[in-house]
């Protein structure tokens, strides 16, 4: 068919670039520069912007989330009511939309639900102690869980004085530290939990009708 190198290359570039423009550039031009908006909820304070900023501990926790591959088992997207059981399972009150993700420097939509969706995990599970125990020993909470334990994000150390207020309590015997020792989160674990607690995409947005 094509017998000359330039022709071949032009053809390839033509097809490739058309897809690139269609799938990357055009969407980007249409909704690539969304801004946070004033929270439309009646209860919101004036100047309360949604989505909330991702800074400090939360931003550091996002890095821990990336480094340890949480995204391979947990999605962060809620499909519309009519698709799947996402909303019926209580993973969200509305579908997620592009604006939900504009504050994050890396977006973890995910493609696999070996574990539950985490779009609103900070709404469902608000207790940091629960998260620390669950990360340290997932099967101490859900015996059938297949989640890897993230014990390496925690230090086992000798109890000093009254012990750390952050130490994980109530571990079953097989996960409990030796007598006189306690299990305390490292900074990475604190950051990760801060990030998880920040995942609350339940605020209303002007572009999403409720129950959609």
């Amino acid at each position: 068919m094509m017998n000359r190198l330039p022709t071949l290359f032009m053809g390839m570039l033509l097809t490739f670039s058309s897809a690139w423009i269609g799938l990357v550039v055009v969407p980007w031009a249409f909704f690539g520069t969304l801004e946070p908006v004033q929270n439309p909820s009646e209860m919101a304070m004036p100047g309360e912007m949604v989505p909330p900023p991702v800074t400090g501990n939360i931003e550091a926790g996002l890095e821990v989330y990336a480094a340890n591959g949480c995204v391979y088992c947990h999605t962060q997207q809620v499909r519309p009511e009519r698709q799947g059981s996402d909303i019926k399972r209580g993973w969200g009150t509305r579908r997620t939309v592009p604006r939900d993700y504009i504050r994050e420097k890396r977006v973890f939509l995910g493609t696999m639900r070996t574990g539950p969706d985490l779009t609103n995990v900070g709404v469902r599970l608000q207790d940091p102690a629960w998260h620390h125990q669950h990360l340290y020993a997932p099967r101490s909470i859900y015996p059938n869980s297949t989640m890897p334990n993230y014990a390496f994000l925690y230090d086992v150390r000798e109890i000093q004085g009254q012990g750390s207020p952050e130490a994980i309590q109530d571990l079953p015997p097989e996960n409990a530290p030796p007598p006189g020792y306690e299990i305390v989160p490292t900074q990475e674990a604190r950051d990760l939990v801060a990030y998880l607690l920040s995942l609350k995409r339940n605020y209303p947005l002007p572009e999403v009708p409720p129950d959609f």
Binding site: L13, G22, L23, R95, N144
Partner: protein, 504 residues
């Protein structure tokens, strides 16, 4: 072919039986010269590819076992507790070692050999290729260690941390430049369909890789557009890099091994351009229901459906080429692997098209079904095709035959049954998981529990595949050490035509 002479004196006893003469003889010498000129770069890419295949397989087994036995108490606790062997790191390390370490290196090795053959020219610029091979392997090594060390980007198919990717890009650019140089060496008037595919692949991939690196890691685009860019890349790397190389191999080796031109050259042209036109629009269908405007996803679904054209064209063409020659599957290892791979290409493409339909996607999205689909494409199609190519190419480079027919058969049957079992358990198990996930009455922990038997089946299939890989790596190692059978007729020389039926 009546120009083969039978009268001139023969130099050695062995060659007197084997070597043809006249025009055929000079062509044979020329072909051997060209093959010899590929030896160093192709063997370097192949050997490093097989090294990464073994590493990637080990990581895969570990990740697979961890999915159903997260604490496996009977194993050394180090495997459970070590930070760098955590599932969330082993899984991306597996993906990147097999995609970049193995599949890409095997693909580049095959590309080099095919380009030299089809351009009918000796390899020029070997140093470029050797530098590229070194850069590539150092890049993959740093990248893998980075992922295991906790620097993964967690962007699927692009987990290699940004400090290693420039090396990969440079290496890739060098291979691309070499390919263009090689293409200019060809005699006028000969562009075979495999060459279009190879040129397409070599041209598309640096673009893809460069653009996504820029848009995801350099100056990250905003929000969920990252998702589009991510899946546009991940899908295109399969469709515009691995698929063209796999098809280039199939379009060369199937006709070449059976000694019959491809059924319709017109269809092969149609197949190439329709692949080029429609494939790069796919990818968005990974985000059906996701936080994106519906029209982006819909455009992607339409393009996915258009993929029926190139897929069926390729399938029909290969089928009609093979017609009347199926019995050669028994006697040719290359043909076995490649015809299996080509059939799997058709199957996986049709499966992929069906998965882009919203109704089926609603079930299969977020399940092991998708993982099965990825292995269907990358393993059953591409990897098997590369194995077949290696069985043809390696003996011609090291000047000896594969040592053992039974090792080849072990390799084939272990990987054949291994991958079929894996596809079965992941596909059926994935559908099962998807239906339960979509039923809000089923508690989530029950869904998790219901996948475990299927995942154990997957680990078992992984053991079979591992056996196949170890056998193949051992056999390949024997070839590097020149411990194969002495060069004989199956690969290096054809029997003179007159000895076979008196055409002359």
């Amino acid at each position: 072919m009546t120009d083969v002479m039978k009268s001139s004196p023969q130099p050695t006893a062995q060659e007197s039986i084997l070597a043809p003469q006249g025009e055929a003889h000079s062509e044979l010498l020329r072909r051997r010269e060209i093959d010899a000129s590929c030896r160093v770069p192709v063997m370097t890419f192949y050997a490093s590819g097989i090294f990464w295949l073994l590493i990637g397989t080990a990581l895969a087994l570990l990740a697979s076992v961890k999915m159903h036995w997260p604490d496996f108490p009977w194993a050394p606790q180090y495997l459970v507790e070590a930070e760098w062997l955590n599932f969330g790191r082993v899984r991306p390390a597996h993906l990147n070692t097999v995609i970049y370490g193995w599949a890409t290196a095997a693909g580049v090795g095959t590309l080099i050999w095919l380009m030299a053959r089809l351009c009918q020219a000796k390899v020029v610029g070997t140093p470029i290729l050797m530098v590229a091979a070194v850069f590539w392997n150092v890049g993959v090594l740093i990248g893998t260690m980075g992922i295991l060390g906790g620097h993964s980007t967690s962007i699927e198919w692009l987990e290699i941390p940004p400090y290693a990717t420039p090396l990969l890009f440079l290496s890739y650019a060098m291979v691309a430049i070499w390919t263009v140089i090689m293409f200019t060496q060809r005699p006028p008037g000969h562009v075979y369909v495999s060459q279009w595919y190879l040129l397409g692949a070599i041209f598309w991939f640096p673009w893809l890789y460069g653009i996504v690196q820029l848009l995801l890691l350099g100056f990250p685009v905003q929000g969920s557009i990252q998702g589009i860019v991510n899946w546009w890349f991940a899908h295109n790397v399969l469709g515009l890099w691995f698929t063209p190389i796999g098809l280039a191999a199939a379009y060369y080796f199937i006709p070449k091994v059976i000694g019959k031109p491809v059924y319709s050259y017109y269809l092969s042209a149609l197949g190439f351009w329709s692949l080029a036109l429609f494939y790069s629009w796919n990818g968005g269908h990974h985000l059906i229901g996701g936080p994106l405007p519906t029209w982006v996803v819909t455009a992607s679904i339409v393009a996915s459906c258009m993929m029926v054209i190139p897929v069926l064209v390729v399938a029909l063409n290969h089928h009609l080429t093979m017609r009347g020659k199926w019995h050669l599957l028994i006697s040719s290892p290359t043909l076995r692997f490649i015809v299996f791979g080509a059939m799997m290409y058709t199957a996986v493409s049709l499966q992929g098209i069906s998965m882009s339909l919203r109704s089926l996607n609603e079930v299969t999205h977020f399940t092991h079904y998708t993982i099965g689909h990825a292995h269907w494409g990358m393993y059953a199609f591409f990897t098997m095709t590369m194995f077949g190519s290696m069985y043809y190419i390696v003996p011609r480079l090291v000047d000896c035959e594969w040592r053992s027919a039974s090792l080849i058969k072990w390799h084939f049957w272990a990987t054949f049954y291994g991958i079929l079992l894996m596809l079965l358990v992941l596909t059926v198990g994935g559908l099962w998981q998807g239906f339960k996930l979509n039923d809000p009455e089923v508690p989530f922990t029950t869904v998790v529990q219901s996948t475990i038997p299927w995942l154990i089946g997957r680990s078992f299939s992984g053991v079979l595949i591992t056996i196949g890989h170890v056998v193949f790596a051992y056999h390949f190692f024997l070839m590097i050490m020149r411990l194969g059978k002495p060069a004989g007729k199956p690969t290096l020389f054809r029997e003179p035509v007159e000895a076979e039926g008196g055409v002359a």
